[in-house]
């Protein structure tokens, strides 16, 4: 049904959803997701109805609905298709396929067709870079390995009105793609002690092992896990919370998807160990909206673990250890990977990073001391708790202990997951994945580091090139300026809008790069434009509210430094050219005077 048809059915749908969530305003993001799954979009009267039922204002609910990219506050098609728009999808031809599908369906990107049947658009990386190009259907399922034939068949089914449930099952196939497994991807040994045996140790002993392991968070910041846990344990408060950050939004990263798909028990083991160590009662997995297709199997694993007594009252047979885990879905917002923004989202709010202090370990979810760790971190804990901290500390380097999983994509023969001890040189990884003629690797995603070929002897480690797990390879046919421009669009699209430098600065970077790329109707680029990009880079590196803004110019900074020629060749004008298209500005005057002769035109580009 459509919210637009009449408000009645949409309201009934929302009422049923809200009843399931016990009318808890902190579940607003989940309520909007579940409601939209029925109504397709969220009309203003529907938002008002939800606001009234939850005791929120319409403006608050509208603010939340307008924040997440997956919520629609305007009518959309009954079937919604979002093409994953990471640079690796584009390198695999996603833009051509998007155009092909739009042409077949007679709809423009971002629009809905006249009959309201379908809408086609782009979205940020869906975490399927090794099996892309990919698209997301109704924020629920993914279609992988798109090619011209598959898009043609897809258009046939869409035009015939075939329900998604009857599409060929192989289109939805998502593979693990493990190319090199070490301890984490190898899984727990068959004879590994069961969790209750592990938890027979005292909470202090569990914490001591994690401290001895030297484990640092795998989400990017690299904060020592044991220090975070200790701070949470020692913070004032009766209730404590453990959150697994499965909002794997960094473009080019897809390792957590595989860990959740094939090693969910290890991840939940790690969360339970953390809960025991810090004294937490409540657990959450914040699963990015793009991974909605994993939800049923994760619910199944949790149900089984409850039946096994691993979760729930007296979990793992420990009297008084009441711990359970709930799954929450994101709705398309990269910034929610930042831990305090994630907590805001868990509380049903806009995913705006919080002011710190207080830190989440002091006052997190609903003000309770909260540990937030990455999926891979918890997976590592499951192994460390069984094999000991010294074992983990013996892998990797002194400052970067253990292994790290890398999501390898781009120009290489064998994309997929590669797990190495930390300290492994980039050159070896390139060799192993069959990357020939690479000119650069984007390590850690757009917010990470662009490493050029002369630096391939550097190692992935916190003390050298840190990584949150993305490893995108660009060969010598690629234009690193266009890569940086793509990432700039990503950050501008994902900015939460709170602080001035990120909200305005990311947009100004995009416009300046577009000018250099001649992608807007403005003048040619000059050295002035490159100087201005340096200004913006400095401004964004000099105090933003959170890490998104602080890292938004990393691709720009790295490529300006290592691939300056790609910029210089676009800055061909001998002097500054105006940012506006002067000729276009004259169009209204031409209309008013009825003139269109040469004298009624101006040219922005002065002859060189």
């Amino acid at each position: 049904m459509d919210a637009a048809d009449s408000d009645g059915p949409a309201r009934l749908a929302a009422d049923a959803v809200m009843a399931r969530w016990r009318r808890d305003p902190h579940a607003l993001v989940q309520i909007l997701r579940d409601t939209q799954a029925v109504t397709h979009w969220l009309s203003r009267p529907l938002l008002a109805h939800i606001a009234g039922a939850l005791g929120l204002t319409l403006a608050q609910v509208e603010g939340v609905a307008g924040f997440y990219r997956f919520f629609h506050t305007r009518p959309v098609g009954r079937t919604r298709l979002l093409f994953s728009d990471n640079i690796t999808d584009r390198m695999l031809g996603s833009e051509t396929l998007l155009a092909q599908l739009c042409a077949r369906l007679g709809v423009a990107p971002g629009e809905v067709d006249a009959q309201g049947r379908f809408s086609v658009d782009r979205c940020s990386c869906t975490g399927l870079c090794d099996q892309g190009p990919a698209l997301l259907v109704n924020h629920h399922q993914v279609v992988t390995r798109l090619d011209a034939a598959r898009v043609d068949a897809l258009a046939d089914l869409l035009l015939a009105g075939t329900p998604v449930g009857q599409w060929p099952a192989e289109w939805f196939a998502v593979v693990d793609g493990v190319q090199r497994a070490d301890v984490l991807l190898g899984g727990l040994a068959d004879d590994a002690p069961a969790l209750p045996v592990v938890l027979a140790q005292s909470p202090q002993a569990l914490l001591d092992e994690v401290a001895a392991s030297g484990l640092r968070g795998r989400g990017g910041a690299g904060f020592p896990a044991a220090r975070k846990w200790l701070a949470c344990r020692d913070a004032a408060g009766d209730l404590r919370v453990v959150v697994c950050n499965a909002d794997e939004g960094e473009p080019g990263t897809f390792k957590d998807r595989v860990l959740l798909a094939s090693h969910a028990d290890a991840v939940f083991d790690g969360m339970t160990v953390a809960a025991r160590a810090v004294g937490a009662q409540q657990g959450f997995v914040y699963l990015r909206g793009e991974y909605r297709f994993l939800l049923p199997q994760l619910e199944q694993v949790l149900a089984r673990r409850r039946a096994q007594g691993l979760l729930g009252p007296d979990a793992c047979g420990i009297s008084g250890f009441d711990f359970d885990i709930a799954l929450h879905l994101g709705a398309g917002a990269y910034v929610c990977g930042e831990e305090s923004a994630l907590i805001e989202s868990l509380e049903g709010k806009r995913g705006t990073p919080r002011i710190r202090p207080p830190f989440p370990v002091q006052a997190g979810y609903l003000g309770r001391p909260t540990v937030v760790n990455n999926v891979e971190t918890f997976c590592a804990v499951a192994h460390i708790a069984r094999r000991g901290g010294a074992w983990w500390a013996g892998i990797g380097t002194a400052q970067s202990t253990g292994t790290k999983i890398h999501s390898v994509s781009g120009d290489c023969a064998r994309p997929g997951l590669y797990e190495y001890p930390l300290g492994t040189p980039i050159a070896q990884m390139l060799d192993d994945c069959g990357a020939r003629d690479a000119q650069a690797v984007q390590v850690g995603g757009p917010s990470g580091t662009c490493v050029p070929a002369p630096e391939f002897n550097r190692a992935i480690a916190f003390e050298d090139v840190p990584s949150a797990g993305a490893f995108m390879v660009f060969d010598r046919t690629r234009d690193l300026f266009e890569v940086a421009r793509h990432f700039a669009r990503f950050f501008a699209h994902e900015s939460c809008g709170l602080c001035t430098p990120c909200r305005v600065g990311t947009e100004l970077v995009v416009r300046r790069l577009d000018k250099l790329a001649h992608a807007r109707g403005a003048g040619q680029g000059s050295a002035f434009d490159i100087a201005l990009l340096h200004d913006l880079d400095t401004a964004l590196h000099s105090g933003t509210h959170c890490g998104l803004g602080a890292s938004a110019c990393n691709p720009l900074r790295d490529t300006l430094r290592h691939f300056g020629a790609a910029y210089a060749q676009r800055a061909t004008a001998p002097q500054f050219q105006p940012d506006v298209d002067l000729d276009a500005e004259l169009s209204s005057a031409r209309r008013a005077t009825g003139r269109d002769d040469a004298g009624a035109h101006l040219h922005t580009d002065t002859p060189a």
């Binding site: 203003r44 008002a48 204002t57 319409l58 403006a59 608050q60 509208e62 603010g63 307008g66 924040f67 990219r69 917002a333 806009r350 002011i355 202090p357 501008a492 699209h493 994902e494 900015s495 939460c496 809008g497 709170l498 602080c499 001035t500 430098p501 909200r503 305005v504 600065g505 990311t506 947009e507 100004l508 416009r511 201005l532 200004d535 400095t538 401004a539 000099s542 105090g543 933003t544 509210h545 940012d579 506006v580």
Partner: protein, 230 residues
């Protein structure tokens, strides 16, 4: 020997601090100016404008929400921070549509005076020229979104002082905007009263009480000085 009051160092000046102080609140009490737009001692901080960015022991932080720490070295008046403030102000100017000569707030506007103090003489960046319809639906208060700098002072004043929740923040990125809580989304249908604190806390000319335009002539306004008094 009497106990020495704890202080931190702001550009070479000792600043006494009390429990709960932020760098900005302690400096303000001591009569020292750290430039800011979105902070007020009446409401909680939003840390959105970033104009008050200082270096606390070398690390850039928002002075309005960063706890003051005894013995800390805080730098505000450095050349690079002056440039940063100028760039932030230029960003705010190009983001909206700010035409000071035609604005009733001119002379009372905090954005204008900060830009003047920062030595801003040009936009530097391209103007984004957004299209934002004016909302004059309220009988007593004008909402001019072209001048809104998303400081959230009205949001917080309505929440924390007036207890009305009239405003909220919507959208994201460059499309972030101020939302008004009413069935139509217009100010005239909201619970806002001209007597609310939220109707008067705006540092720029985005929310203006009606029918008092130019009651105080230009030249006699808050930020007029010997040069502009005429």
């Amino acid at each position: 020997m009497s106990a020495v009051d704890p202080t931190f160092d702001l550009d070479g000046q000792p600043v006494p601090l009390q429990p709960g102080d932020t760098i900005l609140s302690a400096a303000a009490r001591a009569g020292l100016d750290i430039p800011h737009l979105c902070w007020s001692d009446e409401v909680s901080g939003s840390a959105s404008c970033r104009l008050c960015t200082v270096l606390a022991d070398g690390r850039p932080v928002a002075a309005c929400v960063t706890p003051a720490v005894a013995g800390q070295k805080v730098e505000c008046r450095t050349a690079s921070l002056a440039t940063q403030r100028l760039r932030l102000l230029q960003m705010l100017f190009v983001e909206g549509n700010h035409f000071c000569p035609g604005c009733e707030k001119s002379g009372n506007c905090v954005l204008q005076v900060q830009a003047e103090r920062a030595g801003m003489t040009a936009l530097h960046f391209e103007a984004l020229n957004p299209e934002r319809p004016v909302d004059a639906s309220h009988p007593d208060v004008l909402f001019e979104p072209n001048r809104c700098i998303l400081c959230q002072l009205c949001v917080r004043a309505s929440d924390e002082i007036d207890g009305k929740r009239v405003f909220a923040i919507g959208g994201h990125g460059i499309a972030t905007r101020l939302l008004i809580d009413s069935p139509s989304g217009r100010l005239g249908d909201s619970a806002l009263s001209v007597h609310d604190r939220a109707a008067h806390i705006c540092p720029v000319g985005a929310l203006l009480p009606k029918r008092v335009g130019f009651a105080v002539p230009i030249g006699r306004r808050r930020f007029d000085n010997e040069d502009t008094r005429g």
